[in-house]
Symmetry: C2
Subunit: 290 residues, 2 copies
């Protein structure tokens, strides 16, 4: 009997899967490379239709013991954690026994920003013998490359805004604030914190609609970049077709991310929709801060 572990020297990959389409872009990429994938789908987060395409188990966020047992039974040592995950209240965690044993560490991790939470969670997995990898390490083609992804290029004035935004993200990094900012004519229109990129873009769309910002449509850039201290194994900034839709509604000129440090989902659809809307998507060289 061939079990999944035999497919690859490293054994199958355990993919802990939150919301959105990105986890499945990773799962497909890893499968194409010939490595088996076992999806651990998080209830209330992962998309059931997409999960069904892969060998999978459903788990609640707090079921650390169940994950440990199922992943080891499947021969998984490497773990990738990917997808949108609303930070659950400690109360909603309903930890199983193994998670309960880690509870002091979890509670400690909860005091502070996302980076702090994620590095705490990462230690919990490593203590149990797993190796936590970044999605980009197992599926490098999901990383945004340098330069323009589609037909539309960023102009010099827009590069001014992009550098301004990257500089801001760098300065705000030690405070573990969000990964994105909207800059128009060197003015910060919106900063992402707990609400996420999509809601921040919706806010800019509303500011436009209410005449609250004296800026023409088609001016301004969404700039995303990882926080300096961010654990890239966990949480790289991501873009996809919904980012393009949000940027269109916010009446911005384009999207800039840090090349090699941002992942993308559904890239063909994203680029064709951006081209059609006249929106640029650029991967800025990692050194492009002033």
């Amino acid at each position: 009997m061939t079990n999944a572990a035999a497919v690859d020297a490293d054994g199958p990959l355990a993919l802990i899967c939150g919301g959105g389409v990105l986890p499945f872009a990773v799962a497909e990429s890893v499968s194409r490379r010939g490595r088996a994938v076992v999806v651990f789908a998080l209830r209330g987060h992962a998309d059931a239709d997409l999960v069904a395409r892969f060998p999978h188990h459903w788990l609640r966020v707090g079921q650390l013991g169940a994950f440990d047992r199922l992943a080891k039974a499947a021969g998984c040592r490497d773990v990738v954690f990917i997808g949108a995950l609303v930070r659950p209240t400690l109360w909603a965690l309903r930890p199983d026994f193994a998670a309960l044993m880690s509870l002091p560490r979890i509670i400690n991790a909860y005091r502070g920003g996302d980076d702090h939470l994620l590095s705490g969670v990462s230690r919990i997995f490593e203590d149990r013998g797993f190796r936590l990898l970044g999605a980009h390490e197992v599926a490098p083609e999901i990383l945004v490359p340098e330069g323009a992804l589609g037909r539309v290029k960023a102009e010099d004035k827009q590069w001014d805004d992009i550098r301004f935004g990257l500089d801001y993200l760098h300065a705000a990094g030690p405070f573990d604030v969000g990964q994105a900012v909207v800059v128009a004519d060197r003015r910060v229109l919106a900063v992402e914190a707990a609400e996420g990129t999509d809601q921040m873009l919706a806010r800019v769309a509303k500011l436009h609609a209410d005449g609250r910002i004296g800026i023409s449509a088609g001016v301004g850039v969404l700039v995303k970049g990882p926080k300096p201290s961010q654990d890239r194994r966990f949480d790289l900034p991501s873009i996809g077709p919904n980012t393009v839709a949000g940027v269109m509604r916010a009446k911005l000129a384009g999207i800039a991310v840090v090349a090699g440090e941002t992942v993308m989902a559904d890239v063909e659809r994203m680029v064709s929709e951006a081209d059609r809307a006249g929106i640029f998507i650029v991967g800025a060289p990692p050194g492009s801060r002033k």
Copy 2:
């Protein structure tokens, strides 16, 4: 015939008046000190009922020439500019002749954040022989003092969040981002940019309602402070009863501002409503950053 200019050696004060109640707190304070006030109410912004209590003229934002003529006819040399003012589009300005002559400077001022815009506007007034003063210079009692304003005090854990918030505002200052941030357990929940404090608080209320932040009600602080480079004559951070209402809806523990660098409107109502809600309002010593 006694004209207004004779009341005080400096002549009457020209108060250019945007939205909200703060302009009238200043006007009343200045009047009580025996100095005449002429209100220049901005159409679409200033509250007509409150404006009617003072000698006044109505102006559009772009009517620089009309302001110049009316203010000089009233014997005003000192100008205070106060109240909420949605940044109008250049198009909506409909500049009069005098403003048209200043248009290159105005257009230049529009490229960049609020500080940049305000310092440009300030030079325009000074070129015409006016002296621009801060509201706190003519009405010092509107400044928030050090310590707790009401019965509720901030606890040590809350002071941690307050210092964290002030440090963030300091780091973000060079980027001319907004004046406020919401911090809970050393985690930044929301950052204010173009949307203003009230909308930022509404966002935190919604994050709570949607279960998007794993934080109990009654945890977290609204921290406001002037940007390091901010022209304090123009635009000090302000709080009032609506800030308390917003903080209540956002389920935060309290409000912290920088003492001596924040103005308050309707202080008695604000403090009594905060006391009733169990919300603290503290003026942090200006040196309380880490």
